[in-house]
Each structure stands twice: as C-alpha cells, then as structure tokens.
Symmetry: C2
Subunit: 145 residues, 2 copies
C-alpha cells in the first residue's frame, strides 16, 4: 500500500492540465485584448506573452482545432462560445484567487504573479471555499483599491 492509487491520480491530473493551462491563459488574453482594443491579432498575443509569433501561431492553431478560438489567415483571432465560456470561468477563478491572496496579506505585485500560477489548479470545491472565506472574513466589499 506504499504507492497509493491516490497519488497516481493526482499526478496524472497534474500532467493532463498543462495544455489546458495554456488554453486558459490564451482565451483570457484574447478576451482581454478584444475588450481593450476591439480585436486580437497574433502580434498582440506575441507581446502579451513575450513569446515569438511562431509559438503564438501554433498554439492558436491548436486552440482552433480544439474549438476554443476561430480565425482565418491574416485575420483577427476570435473566441468561440466554448472559448468565451472558458475565458469567463478562468477570469473568475483568477479574480477569486487574487482576492484571496490579498485578503491573506499578500502584496498586489506578488498576488498577481502567484495567482497566475495558482488559478489553474483550483477546483470548483476549493473555489467555493475561497469565495465563502472572502464573504465571511474579508469585509472589504468596496473600493479599498
């Protein structure tokens, strides 16, 4: 019983998540950029993530193939409904994690960085617990920013 099936399941989950993390980051970014500037181009994502345009193109291709994005050659990148849904969920998780970190006393700068990494690993149940904590124990419901 030394190598429990539980630990196996945990790690398998972790591994499978990596490409999903990228998907979440990209749909969030596309959503941000579309909201901010009206459209999202490859070059915008290149600047956002600090990677080459080739990397962006290939990841966008995969996300098109998987139904999160849609685009055509030399055209802007758009979210599908599936992508929009994922973006909304990701943003919510991100915001909740960020708020939790702030509530626990983490600085804004570090909270921003850590939330980027943590958000992808927060399950529904954990998210609910975070929200409950923020409601009951962090009565900072308005403009303290």
């Amino acid at each position: 019983m030394k190598n429990s099936p539980k630990s196996v399941a945990r790690h398998q989950r972790t591994r499978k998540d990596h490409s999903m993390e990228t998907a979440e980051d990209y749909v969030e970014a596309v959503d941000d950029i579309v909201t901010a500037t009206g459209q999202c181009r490859v070059v915008d994502l290149t600047r956002h993530f600090g990677v080459s345009h080739v990397t962006v193109t290939r990841i966008v291709s995969r996300l098109v193939r998987e139904g999160f994005l849609q685009t055509e050659p030399y055209r802007p990148i758009e979210l599908t409904n599936k992508g929009r849904t994922l973006a909304a969920e990701s943003r919510k998780r991100h915001q909740t994690v960020y708020d939790l970190l702030l509530a626990l006393g983490v600085s804004e700068r570090i909270a921003g960085i850590d939330a980027e990494g943590i958000e992808h690993h927060v399950s529904q149940e954990t998210l609910r617990c975070f929200e409950r904590f923020l409601k009951t124990s962090a009565p900072r419901t308005d403009g303290s920013t």
Copy 2:
C-alpha cells in the same frame, strides 16, 4: 500601455516553472520512498506517478544532469544535497498549502489534489502569509489527523 511588461514577466515565469515542477515532484517522491522503504527504484517512481518506466528513466536522467539526483545503472536512485534541500522546501510548501485548504473548509480529498497543483506556484511571501493565517486563525495546533 495595453500590453504591460508585467503580464509578460508573469507568463515567462509560469512557462519556466514547468520543468521545475517536475523536479519538485520527483525529489519529493524520491524522499518519500526512501524514507518509507529504504531505497527508491525506477519502478517505485513508475508506480507513484503512474507513468511508464521510460518516462521515469528519462526524467531521472535530466534530474541527475541538473544535480538533484544521483544514480548508476541498475542501482537505486538517491538524492543529492541539492535534491534534499529542494525536497524539504517542496514538502513544507505542500503541507502549508494543504493545511490552508483544510482551514478554509476544503475536503481532505480535494485539498490533496489541489495542493499538488498549487504548491509549485506559491512564492515565499505568499507562503509566509499562509503560515501567518494558519497560526492566527486556525488554532488546530495538534493531532487532529
């Protein structure tokens, strides 16, 4: 200013972390297995992570190359001092994250799963905040396990 350097820095950090996450998982596992059974073999890691022995072998090779592990053909896998240090840090982060999730009301099962993913993204500052919260707000200082 729409594509701030800050977001770039965050994502670059996230990307670079992936191989480090694997390193942390492996040194923790090796440490666990050595403690539990006296030695760690490839087959133990194979069972622990639920991946093929080939994958384990290759990752172990990389971690030997990077100075976290040492081994010889058909011999057990051992931690270097560097690996032991990393294992200790990882374990501490893992435990703190796990405890925080429990303190916020997450079930043990889900806390175990989520902590696996979250632990790799918790900075020193955030970890301190977690510890402070656990000390001040979760007076469960002894054997509740």
